[in-house]
Symmetry: C2
Subunit: 407 residues, 2 copies
């Protein structure tokens, strides 16, 4: 039986998960592939001299690069330094690479994929976007004859967990964040990568790059996090038959005209994304031939993610052509990116009850409490929505705008 | 640029859809794959002498078999005669084959996959189960490091359309069936393949074969259709916070112990499958490493299905190894297949109001109207449920049993 030798770079949660999955699922994998996948080298700067696999550890990347028996390398270091340099070295040494590192793929994907093509090896990164969701493999696999003009998704488990908790347990954002930190979902002390939408922005940038064939820089993703979402907003949304979720979207048929964004948005309870609770992820793909296709699963977690990376490792040893995973360097964008008129869900707060009553008379408010009101606008441009917000704020009330994401 | 030459066998709805997708998406496919995929021969016994592609038609399979420039053949004849013979001939002639033909795959999959392995070509059939859902490609792709011990799915669009209509429009089964026939969803005059569960049984048999690595004959799938589901049952289910769907399931860790079934079952409104309306399909995969993964999309339709077949065609030209798609011939089953205790949703009808009142006193009925009642049992074995049904029937009432499918 053929043995495929693997190296793991970075033996943290995900890296050790890969070794665990290969061990636990050894017989399943043999029966499906007719091959044994074996970890022979592990790169980590920390001390693992007491680990059962201690003989396989190294602190020197050269030990992997110079070992010709290693055909696939799994990168789970995270960040770009030294992950980028190491990945490039592995590729140049003729090794396939898999990665779950969204920062690496979002910022360095162009260069890595180009190097992989030149070296005739593959670089797969399913787990970098949406954890366990069969997303990249579907876009570049059975859906590759489709043009996908619209993606809406929940791509960050941490913020979804926090919003679910604020809504169901009627607790504050700060309290829900603490809980997420206690459970290890959000980072301590700085949860900014999740909370401020950067993580989701990286993921939607990767998807956009795949769809349009051009590198979509994360800096071009209009990104807004969930710090401003209060339990009052969620209650008003509920009263109007909806909820608020952090939605990552990519609309448009080509790179120059695309709108790529991450923002807390209002969705109706009947929207497929509304039922996605806790740390789960879901993505809806609007395919021009095959219609709406959606995938759902856990967005993160040690074994769930590691198993998907092992799936990628096996894929790499079964493929002969990796042309479907390649995108070009950044294009110069058209100045006038398409702006669509949208409906907005608007929440208004004031301690002054009379003011609320007065405002309610002016706008057709759908949900009213003593000190708050909420309503929908008709389809208007963003600039008009901002104008409306400014006008309302002249009454000395707190106003928030949420895009309405429709199915 | 490389040109991949394709033949289509059977130029009905799906076959002509393949040609249409290749034409409409030509530039997208070129930009993603660097290849042109071109239909050079079409096999059909009907007369297409006025068709724009008339020069490519043939009535003789030999014209495809003897054309060495053709590397992939798409089978969309349907049924097994002459599809099986033609597919085997193509494979033996060294051509990859894709198919959307569930009857062919469910009954002849073992032989076809074995022949494909011997010939060193691929046989892909994503569209045969769940139309546009990235299902087989996920099971054999990014989820292949997982053991999947449970599948629950809605795999037949026609019956789901009928049940959705009975529920929402409160019409009879017969009326809903007529509507489905008018829209071309159900076949006329004999809709039995859909209505009696055979179509879903073929699909779950294919999935079970993939999971366990042994051919699961359709005859071993415990199959019950939707003819017995009345609008009253759906109303009682709604009153008890649920609905009735035709659910295809596969439970168990290995072939001998597996329970594979298709039956109308009760599911709670909070169950992910409850929100699947009309002709859509959804499948939940319970993966031992990656957790619940679900896929959703259109179960059928000309372009949706054809585009997925084109996805398979492209896949075949990018792979070097098809070992992940292979299953062995039938094993002898263990005599004692695992039977789990389950909850049942029981509906009872009678024109005799007093009888209903009397029965309600005996069982803890959760939903009662003048002439009907419905309740849940505790977890009991199927034999006990049947005994209960018999006992209730001694009161001369109509009794129906539905398994409760829990998430």
């Amino acid at each position: 039986m053929e043995t495929v030798k693997i190296a793991i770079m970075g033996f943290g949660t995900i890296g050790s998960g890969i070794a665990e999955v290969l061990e636990k699922q050894r017989n399943v994998i043999i029966s499906r592939t007719g091959r044994v996948y074996e970890v022979t080298k592990i790169l980590d700067i920390r001390d693992f001299s007491l680990h059962p696999m201690k003989d396989r550890f190294t602190k020197n990347i050269e030990d992997i690069l110079n070992d010709d028996s290693i055909s696939v390398v799994a990168e789970s270091i995270g960040g770009t330094k030294p992950a980028f340099e190491f990945v490039m070295s592995c590729i140049k040494a003729g090794k396939h690479v898999v990665s779950s590192n969204k920062e690496l793929v979002a910022t360095k994907g162009v260069e890595i994929l180009k190097a992989a093509q030149e070296a005739g090896v593959g670089f797969l990164f399913e787990a970098s976007v949406g954890g366990t969701l069969p997303l990249i493999s579907s876009i570049t696999g059975i859906l590759q004859a489709n043009s996908i003009s619209k993606i809406d998704g929940i791509l960050n488990g941490t913020t979804n967990y926090i919003l679910t908790n604020i809504e169901k347990k009627k607790i504050s954002f700060e309290h829900a964040l603490e809980r997420a930190q206690d459970l290890g979902y959000a980072e301590t002390p700085d949860p900014s990568a999740d909370i401020d939408g950067h993580d989701a922005a990286r993921k939607i940038a990767i998807l956009a790059s795949l769809l349009y064939g051009y590198h979509m820089p994360v800096s071009r993703v209009a990104t807004e996090g969930i710090r401003g979402v209060s339990s009052f907003d969620l209650e008003l949304a509920q009263n109007l038959n909806g909820t608020i979720k952090l939605i990552a979207s990519c609309y448009g048929d080509n790179y120059g005209q695309a709108r790529v964004s991450v923002r807390p948005a209002y969705i109706f309870k009947t929207h497929r994304l509304a039922s996605v609770d806790d740390v789960n992820n879901m993505v809806l793909l609007d395919c021009n031939m095959s219609g709406i296709v959606s995938v759902y699963g856990r967005g993160a977690g040690k074994l769930p993610t590691a198993a998907v990376m092992v799936g990628d490792i096996i894929e790499l040893t079964q493929r002969s052509d990796f042309s479907q995973l390649l995108w070009d360097s950044e294009l110069v964008l058209d100045a006038d990116r398409q702006e669509q008129p949208l409906r907005y869900f608007v929440t208004v707060y004031s301690d002054n009850k009379k003011l609320i009553t007065k405002l309610v008379e002016q706008v057709d408010a759908g949900s009213i409490t003593d000190n708050s009101a909420a309503f929908f606008t008709s389809r208007i441009m963003r600039s008009e929505a901002e104008k409306l917000k400014k006008k309302l704020e002249t009454y000395n009330v707190t106003v928030k705008l949420y895009e309405v994401v429709e199915e």
